[in-house]
Structure formats: C-alpha cells, structure tokens
Symmetry: C2
Subunit: 155 residues, 2 copies
C-alpha cells in the first residue's frame, strides 16, 4: 500500500469528485500552496495512486437506456478460454465492464444497450454463437449507484 498522508488523501478525494478544478482551487481546498499542490499531484500520478482522469457521460444521452448484468458460464475452465472470453467481451461496444469471478458463475458482464430489444439482439448476435459459453442468465438493472469517491479505509 502506497504511503498516502492526510494531504494526499484530501487531494485524491477532491480529484475524484472533480478532476477539472484548477490547481489553485485544489490547493485552496486542501490548504497548501499551489506549487506544493502541483508537485503532490504529480507524485500521486507517478506513484500510481492516481491512474487517470476521465469524463463521465450520460448513457441515456448516448441513447443507451437499458442496462443489464449477464452471468456467464464458460467451459472448459482453462486460462485460454477465460482470457479469450474476457478479451472478446471487453472489446464489444455494448460492454461497460467485465468481471472474472471465483465460485459458481465465471463472468459477470455489465452492458448498456438502447432498448430491451437491443439486449435480446446483443445476446443472440454476440453470445449465442460462442462455443465456450455453456449458459447465461441476464438481469435488467433498474437502478445503478456508483460511488465516485473512494478513500483508504480507516484503520
């Protein structure tokens, strides 16, 4: 675990909440000089604590109203099949996220499509033909809340 003091912690919190505030504002928010702030933030990137800065977009605004979670079982369970399916799923434009899991199901795939009809089409066109898939279940997502600010756990 990287050593992150209270000031670093505050910087990381601020930048997760708003990555485009000016260095001056950021410095003021955490109570240090702008030049110090600049150096601290640079070090947080160099040390790999901050990995990047990304704009968030509205899926609705992009015409992708329906989200679903797909539990997928693949066989045989070997590295080649696992890595192959993971790379395949991650490369599909409908896919937001791919989880490789321990236990019962092998994958969880989070997708966003224009409609329920689009979800059906996705499953038929992208999954049905794959020989390694031995089964899947899909759950439509009613709501999704993501915590955008992640902190070191106290203690």
């Amino acid at each position: 675990m990287a050593y992150v003091d209270d000031i670093d912690s505050a910087l990381v919190r601020e930048l997760q909440a708003n990555a485009r505030q000016t260095n001056r504002d950021l410095a003021a928010a955490v109570g240090i000089a702008p030049s110090t702030c600049l150096e601290r933030v640079r070090l947080l990137r160099d040390r790999g604590v901050i990995t990047g800065y990304h704009a968030d977009v509205s899926l609705t605004a992009l015409g992708r109203e329906v989200q679903a979670l797909l539990n997928v079982q693949v066989r045989p369970l070997n590295r080649e099949v696992i890595e192959g399916f993971k790379a395949y799923a991650a490369g599909l434009p409908e896919v937001l996220s791919v989880f490789v899991l321990a236990g019962g199901d092998d994958f969880l795939v989070h997708v966003a499509v224009p409609s329920v009809e689009g979800l059906h089409g996705f499953l038929m066109d992208r999954f049905s033909g794959r020989r390694e898939i031995v089964g899947f279940r899909s759950s439509v997502i009613y709501q999704h809340h993501r915590n955008r600010v992640i902190e070191p756990l106290g203690g």
Copy 2:
C-alpha cells in the same frame, strides 16, 4: 437521446480517455479551433451529455486489494425497503457500486476491502444485523476490466 454530431462524439471520446488534456490539445485532436472546442465542451456539459470529470485511483494503492460482488435478497419487496437498503449500502465506505435488479436477486453490491478477512468482517458487521436481508451470496473478483470510453452505438 441528445443530438451528438461527429465532432461532439470525438470530443466525448477524447475526454473519457483523458479529461485533463488542455483545450488546445483537445481542439487539435478533433480538428477544430480552441475557441470552438471550448464552446462545444461547455454545451456538452450543459446538455447533460458529459456529467462530470473524475480522477481514477488504484484500489491497490489505497490498500483495498480484495474486491467482491455480493448478491443480496431483501424482503419485503416494497419501495421503502428497497430504497432503504440501497441508501444504506451506497453510504458504506467499502462499497463501490450498488445495482438494483429485476428478477431473482434484488441487489448486486460491488465492494473493495483490504483482505479476505476484511470481506468476512464486512459481511458480519454490515450485513448480518440487517433484518431486511434474507440471503446473500458473495463472489470474489479475480479480475475486473472496465471500458472507460463509452460511445453511441452505431446505427
């Protein structure tokens, strides 16, 4: 669906990949003047296509090495219980994301904790006492790939 032309689309793609590039670089990347670029990006925010800018952090660097997905069933299935549990889970510092689902399981909760022991502790301390929870299953995550650039689906 918001009307997003090819230039908007390119801006959204660029800003999802790197939200802290300068306006000049962004303008150059999509082939427009900096002043035009500034105005376009402002409109994308005003129209709600871009919803924010966030730094990404390394969970490992913050000492949260273990991630898991928790399938949770709650009862009775009414608005009060659903909203109550959602708000509770979303407010926990270990929680990255909360999905409210249609079908079998009611919730999927994505957590990041320091260790497998921490996961056990989380389940005992945060979930066991809740009367509305009638069952849960947890799956440790081996790998997680997230697509950070989301585009309108072609066609």
